[in-house]
């Protein structure tokens, strides 16, 4: 199995586990694609977590505002009708758990890796890109009818650096 296959398998397993354990939800789908072009403009909520070490990259979760509210409501057992601090925090933490679990799985093959603190963006018509990375592994899920995209890029570091908790190497274009 190559690294892309491993990452896709880890993403699927981790996302389903986190949704089941923390949200009482079941993710269906799990279609895997490799994307090499820049992302289409996004509407909604996107969260990022940087990965650093001898390999570096970014993990990301993209969903609609309604899906983000649903994640928050299920996680905190409360009402969430609009995207507020609680909703953004819940999406960030779910992303942290999913990508953190994948990172732990990958450490068995790649050695120690570090995670950044999550960053969450909510808005309309924005693009994202990751500097120096050409290939993203996309995994598309459905939570009932709501689409959810989880993706990751990872490549060997040109200059292996110490693991830190800095910001992910992503840029935002609005």
């Amino acid at each position: 199995m190559n690294l892309h296959d491993s990452i896709a398998e880890f993403l699927i397993r981790s996302a389903r586990d986190v949704f089941s354990t923390m949200l009482g939800g079941e993710l269906s789908g799990g279609e895997v694609t490799i994307e090499t072009t820049a992302s289409e403009p996004n509407d909604g909520v996107v969260s990022f977590i940087g990965i650093a070490g001898s390999w570096a990259g970014t993990g990301s979760l993209t969903c609609s505002p309604a899906m983000a509210c649903r994640i928050c409501a299920a996680m905190l057992m409360t009402e969430a009708s609009s995207v507020d601090e609680d909703v953004l925090d819940a999406v960030a933490e779910i992303t942290n758990m999913i990508i953190g679990s994948v990172k732990t799985d990958l450490e068995g093959e790649l050695g120690p890796l570090g995670l950044s603190i999550p960053t969450v963006v909510f808005g309309r018509n924005f693009k994202t890109r990751s500097a120096g990375t050409t290939e993203w592994i996309h995994v598309r899920f459905l939570w009932d009818e709501d689409p959810l995209l989880i993706k990751m890029c990872l490549a060997p570091s040109e200059k292996p650096h110490s693991v830190h908790h800095g910001n992910p190497t992503c840029a935002l274009e609005i």
């Binding site: 923390m22 905190l76 925090d89 960030a92 933490e93 953190g100 990172k103 732990t104 995670l115």
Partner: protein, 129 residues
């Protein structure tokens, strides 16, 4: 005597979940304090008598392992049990937490039963009437 617990996590969502889970454990808990990072945690501990700390690892300013090291190096706080609750499941992080003196380690995502199981033997159950 009922316990005071400090929950340390930069995610308000996780602090809320842990607070709810702790209230459901049946343990004898008086107050659950919260902090968003290690520095805030030390400030809370300077003002309250804390019996147990539940801490994330990846946090801004001062992370959970730095907090753990600070507590274990303190004559005042070294005996307070610290349970790490974190996405960091790698052997190196677990080994580091154990070496620094963590009383337990729970990986996120977690269930209420996993939290309760980890706290049995650390906290006293609430007295039955």
């Amino acid at each position: 005597m009922d316990s005071d617990i400090l929950v340390v996590d930069d995610s308000a969502a996780i602090r809320k979940i842990l607070t709810r889970v702790l209230r459901q454990t049946g343990m004898a808990i008086q107050t659950i304090h919260e902090a968003g990072d290690g520095q805030e945690a030390l400030a809370v501990m300077a003002q309250h008598r804390i019996d147990l700390v539940l801490s994330d690892i990846n946090m801004p300013k001062m992370d959970g392992l730095q907090l753990l090291a600070s507590l274990k190096a303190s004559p005042q706080w070294h005996s307070i049990p610290v349970v790490m609750i974190t996405t960091e499941g790698g052997e190196t992080k677990v080994a580091e937490a154990v070496r620094l003196g963590a009383a337990g380690y729970v990986r996120k995502p977690f269930t209420a039963d996993q939290i309760k199981e980890k706290l049995v033997g650390i906290l006293q159950p609430a007295p039955t009437l």
